[in-house]
Amino acid sequence: MGKTKQIDRRWLFLLIFIGVALPLIFTIGLPLETSENVQMVYDLVESMPKGSKALISFDYDPASMPELHPMAKALLKHCFDKEIDLIFTAMWPMGVQMAEDIMAQLQDDYPDLVYGEDYVNLGFKAGGMITIQSMGKNLRKIFPEDMNGNNIDELPIMEGINNFNNISFVFSLSAGAPGIKEWVQIAHDAYGRPTSGGVTGVSAPAMLPYINEQQQLTGLLAGLKAAAEYETLLQAPGTATSGMDSQSIAHLIIIIFIIIGNINYWRNKRAEKKGGK
C-alpha cells in the first residue's frame, strides 16, 4: 500500500493553538446540556443536610489541574453553599497543595469560612488503598494531626469523626491510582458510604463500570465538560464553562482533520488502483 499523502502536522498544531486560544480570550458561550452522571453528583450534594461532613480526597497533581481544578472548585462551592463541612485529604503528595490552592481561590467568595470548623486539611499519607482501608477503621489513628500539625482533637470539625461511618459522603478528585477506584472499593464497598468523584476525561471510561445499580459510584464528573455542566447547574459559570468553548473548537478541528485524512486516503487509494490498471 502506498504512503498516504498527509498535510504537514504543523498546520494542525497551528490551528489547534488558535482554536484553543481564541475562545479563551473571546468567550462564545456555546450551549451545554447536563448529563445524567453530573446530575447525580449534584443531587447527592443537594440531598445532604446542613452540617453534614464530607471527605474530599485530592488525588491529583498540577499536571491534571486544568481539568480537575475547575470541577473541584465548583464542587467545593456547592458544598459550602449547602453548609457542608469538608475534610480534605490526599492520596497524592501534591494533592495537599491542590486543596490549598482551591481554598485560596475561594477565599474571596467565602470570607467567613473558618479553618478547623468549616473545613480542615488532613494532608497526605502514603500507602494508597491501605491508607484508605485504615482510615475506614480508625481515621484518628491515621491522621492524629492535620497538615499544619494541629491535634485533630482540638479541631471542632473533627468532633465525632472516628471512621467512615461518621462521614456523609466521600468524593475523590482523581487523576489515576491511588484514586477514585480505591475509594469506591473501600469507602463504598466495605463501608457503604455514598462515594462519588471527578476524573480526567481520558480516565472516565475506566470508571464508568462503577456507575451501576449498586451505586458504587454516585455519578461521576468526567473531564472539563462535566465541570462546565456542574458550573451551569450552580448557575456560576467559571473557568470550565469558558474552557469548554476551546475544547469544543479543538475537537471540531480534529474531526475536520480526520475527515480530510480519510478523503486523502481514499483519493490516494483510488489513484493507486488506476495506476495499477
Binding site: 498516504t4 498527509q6 498535510i7 502536522r9 494542525l12 498544531f13 489547534i16 493553538f17 456555546l30 450551549p31 451545554l32 446540556e33 448529563s35 445524567e36 497533581d61 498540577p62 499536571a63 491534571s64 489541574m65 486544568p66 503528595p93 495537599v96 497543595q97 490549598e100 499519607k125 502514603a126 500507602g127 494508597g128 491501605i130 491508607t131 482501608q133 485504615s134 477503621k137 489513628k141 491515621i142 497538615m147 499544619n148 500539625g149 472516565a204 471510561p205 475506566a206 464508568l208 463500570p209 473531564g223 465538560k225 469548554m244 468553548d245 469544543s248 479543538a250 475537537h251 471540531l252 478541528i253 480534529i254 474531526i255 482533520f257 480526520i258 480530510i260 485524512g261 480519510n262 486516503y265
Partner: protein
C-alpha cells in the same frame, strides 16, 4: 535462609490478611490492623528509598556521561534546591529549621518552596499535560483512517463521542423532536460510553481481577519469587 525467611513472612502475612477478611475478629482482625500500620510505615520509607534511587540513577548517568546527561544534572540540582528550601523555611504552615522566614515570605508572597511550586512547577506540569492536545490531534488525524470494517467502526465511534462531548453536539442535533431524541449526539455519545465501552471495560476489569488473584496466590505460595530479586 536468605530466601526462605522472606518467603515464610510473605506466606504468613498473606494468609493472615486473607483469613482476616473472612474472620474479622481477634486475633486476625487485630493482626491485620497492625499489619496495615506496618505497611503505612514502610510506605513512608519507600518515598525515601525513591529519592535515594533517583539520586543513584541520575548520578550514574552523569558519571558515565550518558546521552543528554545535562538534563540529569538539572534534575538533581532542582531536587536538591527544592529540598533545601523546604528544610530551611518549610512549606505551607509548617516551619522549617530557620522558622517561617517571614521576611522572605513577605517579599515573595509565598515561602520560597511554595513560590517555586506555584510559579514554576505547577505551570511546567500543566504545560507538559497541555502539549498532549497537539499530539492527540496529530495522532487522531493519522490513526483514524477507515481502512477496514473495524477501523471504520472505531472511526465512527470516535467522531460521535467527540461530537457528543462538545457543545457542537448539542447545537447540531438539538432541534430533533422528542421521538428522535435517541439520535441527539450527546445521547449517542452517552450510549456508546455507557454500553459498549463499559461492557469492554468490565471484561478488562474482570480479567485483571482474576490475574491479580492468580499473581497474589503465586506470591503467597512462594511460586512467584521474582520480587526477591536475583533469578
Amino acid at each position: 535462609m536468605k530466601r526462605k525467611l522472606p518467603l515464610l513472612i510473605t506466606f504468613t502475612v498473606g494468609i493472615i490478611l486473607i483469613i482476616s477478611e473472612f474472620i474479622p475478629h481477634k486475633p486476625f482482625g487485630q493482626l491485620s490492623g497492625e499489619l496495615e500500620i506496618w505497611f503505612l510505615i514502610i510506605s513512608g520509607f519507600a518515598i525515601l528509598l525513591g529519592q535515594l534511587s533517583l539520586f543513584k540513577v541520575n548520578i550514574i548517568k552523569i558519571k558515565f556521561k550518558q546521552r543528554d546527561w545535562q538534563f540529569y544534572v538539572v534534575t538533581l540540582l532542582s531536587f536538591i534546591f527544592m529540598v533545601t528550601l523546604g528544610f530551611l523555611w518549610g512549606t505551607g504552615n509548617s516551619a522549617g529549621i530557620l522558622g517561617h522566614g517571614e521576611s522572605i515570605s513577605g517579599a515573595m508572597g509565598y515561602k520560597p518552596f511554595d513560590f517555586l511550586f506555584h510559579n514554576v512547577y505547577q505551570h511546567l506540569q500543566a504545560t507538559m499535560f497541555s502539549l498532549l492536545a497537539f499530539f492527540i490531534a496529530s495522532a487522531a488525524y493519522r490513526a483514524f483512517i477507515g481502512r477496514t470494517v473495524e477501523s471504520n467502526l472505531l472511526l465512527a465511534a470516535a467522531v460521535l463521542v467527540m461530537l457528543g462531548n462538545t457543545t457542537f453536539g448539542v447545537l447540531l442535533t438539538g432541534w430533533l423532536p422528542d421521538s428522535l431524541k435517541f439520535l441527539h449526539l450527546p445521547n449517542v455519545s452517552e450510549f456508546i460510553m455507557t454500553f459498549p465501552t463499559t461492557a469492554g471495560q468490565r471484561a478488562i476489569m474482570i480479567g485483571a481481577g482474576l490475574g491479580i488473584i492468580g499473581s497474589s496466590l503465586r506470591i503467597i505460595l512462594g511460586i512467584e519469587r521474582s520480587y526477591l530479586g536475583g533469578e
